[in-house]
């Protein structure tokens, strides 16, 4: 597996969509290639950080209460 293949397959590797043989080749390459190792780590870090982006956009509590009251009044 070449470095370009690491970039092309990293998403499927992390999602668990690569077959067993490709996983072995992928892992073998990143163990031997520091650049690709760093690339995969950074790619994983982006995903990990992104999970926390939900902390940025939070609906204000007062608005949430008002919307809830409106919803309940209409559905019940």
């Amino acid at each position: 597996m070449k470095c370009k293949d690491i970039v092309d397959n990293v998403l499927d590797y992390i999602e668990g969509h690569l077959n067993f043989n490709l996983v072995l080749k992928f892992r073998s390459h990143i163990e031997e290639c520091p650049e690709c190792n760093a690339f995969v780590r950074a790619y994983r870090k982006v995903i990990k950080l992104s999970k926390r982006v939900k902390e940025v956009n939070v609906i204000p509590a007062r608005i949430k209460s008002e919307l809830k009251a409106t919803f309940l009044s209409k559905v019940l």
Binding site: K2, C3, K4, I6, V7, V10, L11, D12, E15, E35, C36, N37, A38, F39, R41, A42, Y43, K45, V46, I47, K48, L49, S50, K51, R52, V53, K54, E55, V56, N57, V58, I59, I63, K64, L67, K68, T70, F71, L72, K74, V75, L76
Partner: protein
Amino acid sequence: MNNFNLSDHKLSEDSVLPSKLLSMSDEDIAHDCIKNKKETSCKVLFDRFVDKIYRLAMRITKNPNDAQEVVQDSFLKIVEKYDTFRGESKFSTWVYSIASNNSFNLLRNNKNNMRTMSIDNYTPNSDNGSLSEIIDSGDWTSNPDLITNSQETLEIIDKAINELPEKNRMIFHLKDVEGLSIKEISKIMNASIPSVKTTLHRTRLYLRNILKDYLDESGEIEDEM
């Protein structure tokens, strides 16, 4: 079978809800609310989805007032169109579709749309297939700024995503922020799985470069966050 995680569902402030209610599936809660008119179930239904809908609406419209309007309209539409939900997809997928449609409808009417940049032609590899152009940063994953300025880092990512076209924003948000599967996203967006994957991958590579530019390079490889 739905993957239900109790810890994902916040309790409303105004009631202590029985554990049986909290452990009900989304479909059952919706039915109990909409068809049986059970107030406690309606509260749970609202609490389960309000934050998800708001976040998606913010991602698409980039406007808090519009996002609030989407929340209101989406819950009303969930009730109005409930009989059209056939159970062919997860209930949450259906809710996201409603929220997405409402958000895009509002966006089209929004006269203050920010310009976005396309990364459709973003190709990180150099012509000879090497990674030199995307690996040249070394390893920034253990940079201490990621920890001490974590909120700022998240805001950097949030801002960077908001500069991209709606398709990129939405796929990234649904997958990497909200944790939906690629299959679910392809249903919500009516896009092929390969298309969703390609867009997601390009967006992640783009974000990686944004963070590379933002952070200083560092040495040791660690996983702090």
